[in-house]
């Protein structure tokens, strides 16, 4: 078995977020996902929006610059993650397919064993 991190990306400016039903609906979908794949789940959390993010960037001289905001300024930002255990990539992808991500998508990354 291997561990994979499923990174959930979302478009924070999507008009769907203004709809008061979106949050509860998404929560229900995540609950359903958790019930279906509970056996594979090793962890997971939602993140606060990117306006709460602080980035630290190292330049070549070793100096660290602290800036407000997410590391990469892209349309889709990291919004949450699941840590799962799966036999192989196909199994991990089958789980990732079920992760709710209505305004973006998910990225699956194998975890480096320690």
């Amino acid at each position: 078995m291997s561990e994979y991190l499923i990174l959930i990306y979302q478009d924070e400016s999507d008009p769907a977020w203004a709809d008061p039903d979106t949050g509860p609906q998404l929560m229900k979908e995540h609950m359903a996902f958790g019930e279906k794949h509970g056996a594979s789940l090793r962890g997971g959390n939602a993140l606060h929006l990117t306006n709460s993010a602080t980035s630290l960037r190292h330049d070549k001289s070793g100096k660290v610059t602290v800036t407000d905001g997410a590391f990469a300024e892209t349309k889709e930002a990291l919004g949450g993650y699941y840590l799962i255990e799966a036999a192989d990539l196909d199994e991990a992808l089958a789980i990732a397919r079920d992760v709710p991500a209505p305004t973006g998508g998910v990225e699956v990354r194998p975890i480096m064993p320690t």
Partner: protein, 428 residues
């Protein structure tokens, strides 16, 4: 043998090492004990044993090498023919996994399923060998680290996974049908391998129209195998081919499959290409070919698969349906295409139409340019012979030239397809 060993190691590099070790052991063992009855089974068994040993060593301290022992239990070390076929198919689906980019899928399959050298794969992609080696290394790393599984997808997944596999099998065929480099025009080892793969897919997916279309295309193209190259190894134009030498069993089977595949809408790219080959196969002679029908199928194909080489073939077909001037005009419309500017067959088609119209100077210039663009010795010889006719003053204006042979002969779609993939990726 590699496929059977990969099943054990789950790692292509490790499997290759085991196969090489097996050959090394054969040198000493066979000198002492004599050559075994079935040398290839001997080698496979030894390679797989080495792989199992390697796996046992690795699994304790190296979790990066994936899935070493997952289903070794109950697995026999015997390798019968069916087993080998299944292994090859598993390897294909691993190499053609959608988690890999499409070019890497094709490269891996050519390299590891079909046994091409890295240099030959690089030539098929029109890139440098060093770049191809780096690409293969990256792809193998992704297979190992993300644990792309080594199995045939289940029925639900299969249709989605089949597209890339068809692409790859077609490419293997075309690489063999007109070898991109080397001294021989056709590599029967590759064409037979592609045919075998296509038949295997047909058994797995008897309902899939794309598979039927591809198998038909391979059969109808390969049916001309004995007629398109002389015993001395030089190219015979479709026009000059002895149609008695065509494999009529292949043609019958291919036409049956085309008919079946065309009942599925919309027809796939391979089905349309097979339909073009079928029109040629059904024509009693070159002059009786239904060129209007061929242009009509190309019209559909250009729509399904907008590639510069399909457009080139359509232009050449127009030249046969409506005359060399119409063909030349259709070719001129494509003159701005950056890919065709470096494409042998574009120039040789121009040369042919110019020659038929009696434009000696333009024909000469185009043949010379075409000659500079080919790496295949047989094609080079053919073009040189054409060129010599002009230098000796023996030019003729009758229908002749590489384009007749080429335009229906999907082999030359190979490099463009690769380019097309690269182009489409860069723009997205």
């Amino acid at each position: 043998m590699l496929a059977a060993t990969v099943r054990v190691t789950r790692d292509i590099d490790a499997a290759e090492e085991c196969v090489q070790d097996a050959y090394a052991r054969a040198l000493t063992d066979w000198t002492t004990n004599g050559i075994p009855l079935n040398p290839s089974a001997w080698l496979t068994t030894v390679a797989r044993r080495l792989a199992i040993d390697l796996g046992r060593r690795h699994v304790t301290h190296d979790r990066l090498v994936p899935l070493l022992v997952a289903d070794l239990d109950g697995e026999s070390e015997q390798t019968d023919a069916g087993d080998v076929g299944d292994d090859r198919l598993r390897l294909i689906f691993t190499c053609c996994h959608p988690a890999l980019d499409l070019e890497s899928q094709i490269a891996l399959t050519l390299r590891f399923v079909c046994g091409l050298t890295t240099s030959e794969v690089a030539r098929a992609f029109l890139i440098k060998e060093s770049a191809m080696a780096a690409r293969l290394t990256r792809a193998k790393k992704k297979i190992a680290i993300s644990r792309i599984p080594y199995h045939v997808p289940d029925a639900a997944e299969l249709p989605d996974r089949i597209e890339a596999v068809l692409e790859v099998v077609h490419l293997v065929f075309t690489t063999g049908h007109t070898a991109p480099s080397g001294t021989s025009l056709v590599r029967d080892d590759l064409t037979s391998r592609a045919l075998q793969l296509a038949r295997m897919l047909r058994d797995l997916l008897p309902e899939d129209a794309g598979v039927a279309g591809l198998l038909a295309l391979i059969l109808l193209s390969d049916a001309r195998r004995n007629a398109r190259v002389t015993q001395a190894g030089s190219l015979v134009l479709l026009e000059d081919q002895d149609r008695e030498k065509w494999d009529h069993d292949f043609i019958r089977e291919g036409i049956g499959l085309v008919r079946e595949a065309l009942t599925h809408r919309p027809p796939t790219r391979f089905t349309l290409m097979a339909a073009i080959a079928a029109v040629h196969a059904e024509a009693p002679s070159f002059s009786e070919t239904d060129w209007g029908e061929i242009v009509a199928i190309y019209d559909l194909l250009v729509f399904t698969w907008p590639s510069p080489v399909v457009a080139l073939n359509r232009a050449v077909a127009i030249g046969f349906a409506d005359g060399p001037l119409a063909g030349l005009m259709a070719l001129d419309e494509l003159s701005g295409d950056p890919f065709l500017a470096h494409y042998t067959y574009y120039e040789s088609a121009r040369a042919d139409f110019h020659s038929r119209l009696g434009h000696r100077e333009q024909a000469f210039a185009s043949y010379e340019l075409a000659l500079q663009l080919t790496n295949n010795a047989v094609e080079r010889e053919f073009l040189q012979e054409r060129l010599a006719r002009f230098t000796t003053g023996g030019a003729e204006s009758g229908p002749s030239g590489a384009s007749e042979q080429r335009h229906h002969d999907q082999s030359h779609l190979t490099p463009t397809r690769m380019n097309y993939i690269r182009d489409s990726k860069e723009t997205t």
